[in-house]
């Protein structure tokens, strides 16, 4: 800045406050509109929580904290406990993670570290497109393709080979925990791989060259410079995928078989927190049934919030750490 320009700028700035009102009126209006929108979003969320909370009070009053662990859910005798659904949500989500995490890591490492650029771009695009398919379509595919295949081929085979493990015992139904876990795995794989890919891409090349120059093979380089460096980022991606799996409703409701019982076998029908609400809300007639469904919803809401907060915290930590590494 030359002296003259600097002088002019400082004069304009000094002259500013006098005319500020008229000059920035547009800005101020805009600011207030945005502020109003932002506030109403927060209020809406608060109102929603409050409403859910009020709805679920009767259930917690009647069944107490035991509601969360009680295994009986019986609309006829009006005894309600969320145990089977919490079990269903946890097991189906963990099953989905067990399948999806290795696949997602493989996909994102392949796309980012091994594939030539053109192939990586096309494949990356296709994988991300998987995330755009509506979940009801996954559900339909689950019912018409996956479940019959599981019933006729996969489950008999698993039963024959691993039948000594309780997880793979019992009659093959097709629909059930295994089907839900598989559909969920397919649904969360694009999410986890996309985030992992971004995390890997944020690792500067000089980190990879550090290990290559030391005489690392490609695999050793991926381990030392990519996976190790991205540990917390990968964890964040996994937690976000877990959050998605736990909240997924439509597809799970369609393939899980909807039975409010805990069965150790993965072949057996089950039910999750989200699927029981979708399944029973329309026909719930009694006050206590409705309230119990709301209580299930509230529990799911709280758990999802916690999981998302955790993911954010973890991802934030990796961000600030790689920022430090790149000083």
């Amino acid at each position: 800045m030359s002296k003259a320009v600097a002088l002019e700028v400082s004069q304009t700035v000094e002259a500013g406050p006098v005319k500020k009102r008229d000059l920035h009126l547009g800005d101020r209006v805009f600011f207030w509109i945005l502020r109003g929108v932002a506030t109403s979003v927060i209020l809406l969320l608060a109102a929603l929580t409050l409403y859910l909370f009020r709805l679920s009070i009767p259930a917690f009053q009647t069944f107490g904290a035991k509601f969360l662990i009680s295994l009986e859910w019986n609309p006829v005798s009006e005894v309600f406990g969320a145990g089977p659904f919490i079990y269903g949500t946890v097991v189906s989500s963990l099953l989905a993670l067990c399948i999806s995490v290795p696949v997602s890591l493989g996909v994102s490492l392949f796309l980012n570290e091994l594939a030539p650029k053109k192939l990586a771009d096309t494949m990356g695009f296709l994988v991300e497109m998987l995330a755009a398919i509506p979940s009801v379509v996954y559900g339909l595919w689950g019912i018409f393709v996956l479940a019959p295949w599981l019933r006729t081929t996969v489950q008999p085979l698993l039963g024959k080979t691993f039948g000594f493990i309780p997880l793979f015992q019992g009659p093959p139904f097709g629909v059930g925990m295994l089907a839900a876990g598989l559909v969920l795995a397919i649904m969360i794989t694009p999410t986890i791989s996309a985030i992992c890919k971004e995390v890997f891409r944020a690792i500067p090349d000089h980190q990879r060259e550090a290990s290559l120059a030391l005489g690392a093979t490609r695999w050793e380089m991926i381990h030392m410079s990519v996976i190790q460096t991205a540990r917390s980022g990968i964890l964040g991606a996994v937690i976000l995928g877990l959050g998605r799996a736990m909240g997924e409703t439509m597809a799970v409701t369609m393939v899980i078989g909807n039975r409010a019982e805990i069965d150790i076998s993965l072949f057996a029908p089950a039910q999750t927190m989200a699927s029981v609400i979708a399944n029973e809300y329309a026909e719930a007639s009694s006050q206590i049934h409705l309230s119990s469904l709301a209580a299930v919803g509230l529990s799911l809401f709280v758990v999802s919030l916690l999981i998302n907060a955790m993911a954010r915290f973890v991802v934030h930590r990796v961000d600030s750490r790689s920022a430090k590494a790149a000083h």
Partner: protein, 253 residues
């Protein structure tokens, strides 16, 4: 040039169709510091990365010619680039310790890659390398802290220690002090002169004074070619090529 430890013959390198290095023949005597100078973009880094076969890791990159390390062609048939990189150390422009590893593990990384896991051996070599890199006194109580918690100059010396740990006969350095403050730079320059006893150093530098201060041989690069190479004092006092003269007198570049 009686018994060079490192010798290149007509080395050319490409990025796709773009030729960045044009037929460079060069040799380095044992226990010397060899400086590469030249305007930016003239192919110094690319040439350096041909010397440990790192260039070919770039997608679409290609190398021709031969590089002899103790008379053996590292581009010869059946030579494993990974094995080559284990024998030649490299230090980069930006300090790049492994962020997930402690100071100790950073220095031990090359040894572990080579299959050495015995704690007592690692501890001994880590200490020796850190002493060699003039860092031991500063970090001996911080061996378990992350490598990235050190200052920039310390991180760069940590990277030097990491490269030295596997006892390489040759150490390649790509503008190792350009991201550092003058005090850290001076420390590293002093360190390099001392290191000469153990390794042969090929250093790319942007800083002609640095080349003049520490190197035995200076090579001047221009648009991918080696214009002139020779004893440092001779290059700076009596360059044969007018382009070299123009560059060192600051008339271009």
């Amino acid at each position: 040039m009686a018994n060079p430890i490192l010798e290149t013959k007509e080395v050319s390198a490409w990025f796709g169709k773009h030729q960045a290095v044009r037929g460079i023949s060069f040799s380095a005597e044992p226990n010397t510091i060899n400086a590469m100078i030249g305007p930016s973009g003239c192919g110094k880094s690319t040439f350096l990365r041909c010397l440990n076969r790192l260039h070919e890791e770039v997608e679409g990159a290609r190398v021709e010619g031969s590089v002899l390390l103790s008379k053996e062609d590292i581009y010869g048939q059946g030579v494993d680039p990974v094995a080559v990189r284990r024998r030649i150390g490299m230090v980069f422009q930006k300090p790049n310790p492994f962020p997930s590893m402690s100071v100790f593990d950073n220095v031990a990384a090359g040894l572990r890659l080579a299959g050495i896991h015995k704690r007592s051996v690692l501890a001994e070599v880590v200490e020796r390398s850190l002493v060699q890199a003039a860092l031991w006194e500063e970090v001996k109580d911080k061996l378990k802290q992350p490598g990235t918690s050190l200052s920039g100059g310390q991180q760069q010396r940590l990277c030097i220690a990491r490269a030295l740990a596997v006892n390489p006969p040759v150490l390649l350095m790509d503008e190792p002090t350009s991201a550092l403050d003058p005090i850290s730079t001076a420390k590293i320059e002093e360190l390099l002169v001392n290191l000469k006893n153990d390794v042969t150093i090929v250093i790319v530098t942007h800083n002609m004074q640095q080349a003049a201060r520490i190197s035995d041989q200076t090579c001047f690069f221009l648009t991918g070619e080696l214009v002139e190479a020779g004893e440092t004092s001779r290059i700076f006092t009596n360059p044969q090529d007018t382009r070299t003269e123009q560059y060192i007198t600051g008339r271009f570049g």
